[in-house]
Symmetry: C2
Subunit: 368 residues, 2 copies
């Protein structure tokens, strides 16, 4: 079991990563969990059917009281104010108090909405994250919680750190391919902003299936460490934490424009990463050809660039202007001076248009 | 203009108190306000009609851009998830970002819901509190934000500190008598937990109308200082901050049971204060007769104890068990060892029943 410390201004806690680790990891928090007056598991419906027993068995081995289980809609659709309020009502109906403890058992969406519930129920109660997707190696670390507003993704939320993150990668075996793609995009992002050699290693695989379990574990631990270092330096996204948004300005716009649920978060980010690298070649000193190389590798992995062909740039720009990093209507992008050296830039609209058109050409060649 | 510093773990800021102070106080924040990409005033409907010009004039004297004004339902009814979502939508429609700044212009309810909006819009943006009630001298200080859930008051919220509190007591002149009563209950609470001499001074007035403007200002400054000292020691209500809930366990139960809107927060707290003192006489060393003396003074001020006659204790107990200080279904009360010396106690149900019955007898004598 790997253990990574997350030390933020507001709280220090551990991320535990490994295969079949619920029993040993939960044992570390046995005292705190037993001390709670109510234990509530919020679980993604799809995850419940596949993995709930894995979690219940070790929990019930030391708990005298029963746990309350509340199933949430699977995936991104749970990140709504409706689910948020349903969770709050569930907690009140069960008689939960500030001494209760919550588990968020599922992917990024589940962690985001349950984290927001934990941060606001009676002004904040403890919760433990149990991610079940590759993507959640990113979202479960660092304390960003949120739900979506019809007018934008992650518009309502908070910064709120969990008590612990227990990431049992044995749950990844059942992950649909689209979710593997979604999560690996964030792994690639972590490599892009931190380490040239790691990136080359990553992109050298011809297919995601060629990555062994052991390699995957090592990549996830590396990715979590990158995030931990950044969150330690800047919990509230005032400076370097913004670098984690590499690929997200354009990515979020694609995601919103295509429609949540029709494309995964990571698939949109993958497209956004290529755009960021195109812009970095043009506006920064990033080596020419890097964007194209990434584009080719992502295609080999199975990422689709069709959304770029379908979405007009005029549809995308308004979403980019509403990005949380935006102000005064400018387009703020994370760019790379070189691999491992991110920076923030205000990018002229015409440059984004140009990158979009170029990526369309590349995509047409592939999708013709 | 009096200025009190609030130094919490997460933030330091000032509370400015005085008559007709919007111009000089806002001038202190001119740079920050001008730097914002959008300025939004959320204002209680009733306050807007009476006082909005007072605020707009000095703001517009240095702002080049227009301010957005969003009127909220007057009073406690605005503390709902519906208002919360309406505020979020308003901000998105106006194109607000993390660089925008919000004003909460109204009483405690307005501050609570707008504070919660500020704490969660894009995971937190700055806001300035402009309280317009005596009660808000309490609620605007210390960073507690919340909305009500149909199943309980303040059940969903956060700890989130404002940039500043600007308390112009000239707005109190238009306050309905019921709101004066509501606010003065918290002033009396602050005296009860801090200072015997101040309490005696307060209770020596035969009527609230006998309190001069100058005296009122002095009482408010004193009350804010009591709260500032406590919040400094314990921002997140892990220890001494709980003392501020004197009178609130029973008070919240009365408020919920009678129905929000039918009785003000402070009127319920006033009743709860008497109950706390009765319990303190019985279970702690508080001097006998203190509760009755407070009861008599509150009656003279015009507080009504009729709700105690109307509500059965069996209706109240479930609400007390759901109090945020509760755990494992116990009844947690703030009691007084003596005036100025609060403590937390788990109180047996039968003692609460006894105090309730005794208070009913006293009330019957007054209301017969």
């Amino acid at each position: 079991m790997h253990t990574i410390s997350i030390d933020t201004e507001s709280k220090s806690y551990k991320v535990h990563v490994g295969s079949f680790i619920y029993e040993p990891a939960l044992a570390l928090y046995e005292k705190q969990i037993k001390h709670a007056d109510h234990v509530v598991i919020f679980v993604d419906e799809a995850v419940a059917n596949l993995h709930l027993d894995k979690l219940l068995k070790p929990l019930q081995s030391f708990l005298d009281t029963s746990v309350h289980i509340c199933r949430l809609p699977a995936g991104e659709s749970s990140k709504s104010m409706e689910t948020f309020m349903a969770c709050q009502s569930f907690l009140l109906e069960k008689g939960c108090t500030r001494k209760s403890i919550l588990f968020a058992f599922g992917g990024g969406a589940c962690g985001d909405v349950v984290g927001f519930v934990a941060s606001t129920f009676m002004r904040g109660i403890p919760f433990i994250q149990l991610p079940t997707t590759i993507l959640a190696h990113d979202s479960a670390v660092g304390g960003k919680t949120a739900v979506n507003h019809p007018q934008g993704k992650n518009m309502i939320g908070s910064f709120y750190q969990p008590e612990a993150v227990i990431f049992d990668i044995s749950t990844l075996a059942t992950l649909p391919n689209q979710q593997v793609l979604s999560g690996m995009a964030e792994v690639i992002k972590h490599a892009l902003i931190s380490d040239k050699n790691w990136l080359e290693d990553l992109l050298s695989y011809q297919s995601l299936e060629n990555i062994s379990e052991e390699q995957k574990l090592s990549f996830l631990v590396k990715g979590i460490q990158v995030k931990a270092d950044i969150v330690k330096a800047d919990e509230f996204e005032q400076s370097v934490r913004k670098y984690l948004n590499l690929g997200h300005t354009y990515g979020h716009a694609i995601e919103a424009s295509v429609g949540y649920g029709n494309i995964t978060h990571g698939e949109s980010v993958a497209i956004g990463l290529v755009i960021s690298l195109q812009l970095s070649e043009k506006l920064m000193s990033l080596k020419e050809g890097t964007a194209k190389k990434l584009f080719n590798a992502l295609n080999a992995f199975g990422y689709s660039f069709e959304p770029v062909l379908k979405q007009e740039i005029d549809q995308l720009i308004p979403y980019m202007k509403r990005d949380k990093k935006a102000s005064f209507g400018d387009l703020h992008f994370v760019l790379l001076e070189q691999i491992g050296k991110p920076c923030m830039k205000i990018v002229p609209v015409e440059e984004v248009v140009r990158a979009h058109e170029q990526l369309r050409k590349w995509s047409k060649e592939v999708h013709k």
